[in-house]
Structure formats: C-alpha cells, structure tokens
Amino acid sequence: MNFVEHAPTLILGLPLLFAFLIPLLGRISKDMRDILFLMGLLLTGLFVGIMAYEVLTVGGWTYVFGASTSEPTNPITSYFRITFVADGFSVLATLTIALVALGAGLFSFDYMAGHAALDKFYSLFLLTLAGVNGMVLTGDLFNLFVWFEVTSIASCGLIAFTNYRGKSVEAALKYMILSVLGGLFLLISIGLLYGQYGVVNYKLLSDGIAGSPGLFVNKLALGILLLVFGMKASTVPMHMWAPDAYSESPGPATPLIAITSLGSLFVLFRLTFGVYGVNMGPGVIGTILIILGVLSMFIGVSMALVQSDLKRLIAYLSVSQVGYMTMAVGVALTTWTAEGINGYGIMAMEGGLFHMINDGVYKALLFLAAIAVIHATGKRDLNELGGLAHKMPYTTVFFLLGALSIAGIPPLSGFSSKLLIYQSVYLYHPILAIIALVVSIVTLAVICKAFFNAFLGPDQGQTKGEVPKGMLIAMGLLTVVLIIFTLFPHYVVAEIVVPAIRALGVIP
C-alpha cells in the first residue's frame, strides 16, 4: 500500500483516531494513556515529514476523499468530493503546526502529571491539532468551516481546562462567543459564494471568480473572510480574546492555541491568494492588510509594555508579531500584477512567510519557558519573581534565546525574517520600515524587563531547582529547531518558503 499519497489525510486522521482512543484505552493504565498520546503526536509528525519530503522533492498533489483513486481523475466530478491539497504551502503550514505541537505535547507529560482527567486534556489537545491541520490542508470551503468549528470547540475546552478563580472560564466564554460569531459569518460568506457559483471547492471557485471578477458578491464574501480569519489570527481590532485565552489556558495548551491563530493566517493567505488570486483587487486588500499589520504591531507591543503578568506579556508580544506577517504580505500584495508579484514584493512575501514558521517556533519556546517558570515558582507576576537564573540555568538559556529571537536580535532567526521584512517594506514606504524597527526596539525593551525581573538578581529562593527533564527536553527540541533556522536561514527560505510562495501561484 502506498502510504505516501495518503499522508495529507493521515496527518488529520491519526490525531483524531488517537484522540478518541485515549479516553477508551487510557482506562487500562496511565502509562497506556501517555504512550497513546505520544504515539499520536509522533505519527502525525512522521507523516508531516513524509508529506514534506514528497512535496519538496517530487511535487504536490490533490487528495480526493472517498473516491476509488486519490487523484482527481475527472476534472469536474472529483472536485465535488472533499479534497485535500498537499503543496508547498501546506508543507510550510503543517511543519509549523507539527513542530509546535510536538514541543507542547512533550512538555505536557511532566507539566500536567497528577492532574485529574488527563485523558480529556490529551483528547482536546489532539482534536485541536487535527482541527488546525484540517483547516490548512483542506481544499474545500465548507470543509474549512467544519475544521474551523472543530478547532474552536476543542481549543475552547482547552482554555477552560484548569479553572483558576473563574478566570479561565471567562476567557473561554469570550473565545467561544467570538469563535461562534466568526463561524457564522464564515458560513454566510460560504453561502454567498455557493449561491453565486454553486461550488465550494477552491479550484472550481477560483475558476468561477476568474470568470466574473467584478461581482459585488465576491467582494462581500472576501470582506467577511478577512474579518473572520483576521479575528481568529488576533489582528488588532479583533485581538481582545487572545491575551485572555493565552494567559488563562493551562501551560502546554498555550502554544497550541497560539498556533491556531497562525493556522488561521495561513488559511487567510490560501483563500486570498489561491481562491481570489489577482481578482481580489490586490491594492485594496494589501492596504487593508498593511493597516491591520501596523495596528497589531504597534498596539500589541504597547500593551505588552505595561503588563506585569509574564504570560500576558508574551501574549501581547505574539499579537504584535502577527502584525509583521500581515504587513509583509500586504506589501507583497500591492506589487501584484497579472504576472504575479514582483520586485520587492517577492522579498516581502519571503520575509512574511519565513516569519510565520519562525514565529511559531520561538513563540512556543518563549511560552514554554515562561510556563516552566510559573510551574517552578507558582508565581506569574513579574514584580514578585526574581533571581531564577541561579537555580534554573537551562530554562534561563531557553527563555533568553526565544526572547532575543522575538526581538529580532542578530544572528538569531527572528532577525533573518525581520531583515527581509524591513528591507522590502522600506521600498514600499520608508515609514513602515521605521515603524517595524521601532516596534522591534520596544519589543526588546519589553523582553529585557521580563528577563531582568524574572531571572537576574540575587537568588530569592523561589524555586527548589530546575524543572523536570521532560519539560527541558521539549524546550530543547524547539531550541534545536530555532538554532537550525538561525544557522541556515537561506536554506529554509529556499527549500521551504519559496515552494510555499510558488504554491500560492504568485511567482513562477
């Protein structure tokens, strides 16, 4: 049996299977439950790797569900089934998701040990993973709605998992209301497109839109899609759920919920580029994305300045990082003509997408290090923490690497992607590059404050020692990936990011 062609659906199906098996077989013993969770994560990662290898060496393919062959043999009827798209862009997205999920999953063994109802946590974790993977892999608008809802419901359960004085329930309620509203608006948008064109498949839909580009329905649906996925990606006017959800969710779930926002951004780009293409009015959409990006960057980082809660501070920083990606892709869009994006647009696109995979990794590392601190000390207020570097040397190094990377300090990988963004947006308008640089400097100030308060200074005896080994291994894994990105940024851009841009159909 040729498993390679089934890789996209196994990336989705295996987490689902293990999510349902864990409550069932987890009754046998606690080890069984942990082993099943680990197997689910590792197998998903394995098939992400297999798909990435196949796509990057041989080429992408479309997977048709339920047909007698997985290839779309009939140009019309095959696309009425649910299809999954395995191309460069899916590879970039699923790689980011799998790396973060693997790190967070390994982290959760020691962090959640002794917690009641752990099988439910593992189930929700794997369901969220399956939902995000489904969102980025699907080639069908209605199927996208289904995975959107799966992700929303599962991550809502994750946020409310450990109740701390009712705060996490409040965060989950906020998240749920916004997600349900977003899901309904997404459904309206799908309905508009379906009513006009009678299809929901991306490929047939893009053919339909190319046939009648000027229709008002197209613009209305695109506007709603921007709103929905902008909300889910926590861009600024719609970001209010993110700091609550990130800071109140139980430790290892935080990076996963952060990756659902990155996944939504991936979906937004696939929809705008893949379905609408040049017919979306790249100038207008690009300008909107630039405005959203600048707002996110600036407001996110200014809010981070005044936080004293460690996790909330990183949550606001992550809102500000999303701004870099939206701004870079917006700049790339403004250069789009019928031949594709050109000139500095290509560089902006490279920077934006490289920043996404980069950001996924170092943000997860930073969150995990912060959670390790909270786990070891039981405190999350920066004014109370201090002198942790004496007892927790490894966590200190991991936090420092993640923090310097998020601030874009050379030579760390955050700098490589931010440099691409600075250079390209400077050519669009110098003021954007200045704003991006200023935001980077303020980010540095924020993380300096966090690092000095929590780790430096005399030992105050707040912790007995380093966190357990499992947590260190999880952070170490993400650090290794971060160092690889740091050492070979050109390789990552050429081998992973450029195929992703090519898959969006904007460069030959």
Binding site: H6, G13, L21, L24, F65, G66, S68
Partner: protein, 156 residues
C-alpha cells in the same frame, strides 16, 4: 439528587422509554434511506435519558460506561473510514458488493432494503452510539450540576 416523582410518573416513564428507544433505533438504522440518521436517532434515544432523570431524580452510576460508549463509537467511525485506505480514506468499500450492507436498492416503489448503502449505515450506527452516549452524559452532568447548585444556594 433528592427528589423523586410520584409512582404514576415513574411507571409511565418506564413504559415510554421502550417506544422512545425503539423509535431512535429505527431512525438510526434507516438513516441512509429516509430522513433521520445517526445524530437524530441518537438525540431521540438520549431524550429517554432525560425522561428517566426527571422521573427518578437520578440516573445511576453509568458515567464511565457512557463515556466508553462514546469513545467506542467515534473510534469505530474513524476505523471504518480508514478501512477504505486501500483506495482512499472514507472509500465506500462495501457498496454494491453484495456483502453485509452491500446490496443495492431496487428501482421503483419498494419498502426499502436495509442492507444497502455500504459503509454509510455502519457509520450512522457509530454516530448514533456516540450521540446517544454524549447527549446522555451532558444531560446527566447538567442534572448533577443544577442539583449541586441547589445545595450551594441552600447552604448560603
């Protein structure tokens, strides 16, 4: 849970549970031929749970078995999808094969052949199991939650 309805209500509930469950099973196994299906049938069966909880004020200690039933339904659903992996996931490998559920419905007016539809009725049954268990669990939790709420208010 400390209330209990009168003997009349409890007896009627006992009697009504049987037709409700039978109607639910009917909806589930005819899902591929007529309106209805796994979700609707499961919801109907779960309504019998609601009836029992209201009449008796408790539902016994079935939480673990319901939870297992839910996971079993979901796991088997995914496994049936994976069984088509020789072709593609969700491939209907039983359809038109003549084996269990592999028959085809004859053309024209007929009572409907239950053993048709391939994997679709099997998946309906799995969804039915899942929805029955999950909705019953939700009702059980809600009954328990409202009960503890009463106790809390009373103590205040």
């Amino acid at each position: 849970m400390n209330w209990k309805m009168s003997r009349v209500v409890r007896t009627i509930a006992d009697i009504m549970v049987v037709p409700i469950i039978i109607f639910g099973i009917y909806l589930i196994i005819h899902g591929h031929l007529s309106p209805g299906g796994g979700f609707q049938g499961g919801a109907v069966i779960a309504s019998s749970t609601a009836l029992l909880i209201i009449a008796y004020g408790s539902f016994g200690k079935h939480k673990d078995s319901l939870s297992s039933l839910e996971s079993t339904g979901l796991t088997l659903f995914i496994l049936i999808a994976f069984l088509g992996l020789g072709y593609t996931v969700f491939y209907n490998f039983l359809a038109s094969g003549g084996a269990v559920f592999g028959g085809t419905v004859p053309y024209g007016i007929n009572p409907g052949r239950l053993d048709s539809g391939g994997t679709v009725p099997l998946m309906n049954i799995m969804v039915g199991l899942e929805v029955t268990a999950a909705l019953s669990l939700i009702l059980w939790m809600m009954a328990k939650g409202s009960d503890s709420m009463d106790v809390e208010e009373a103590s205040v």
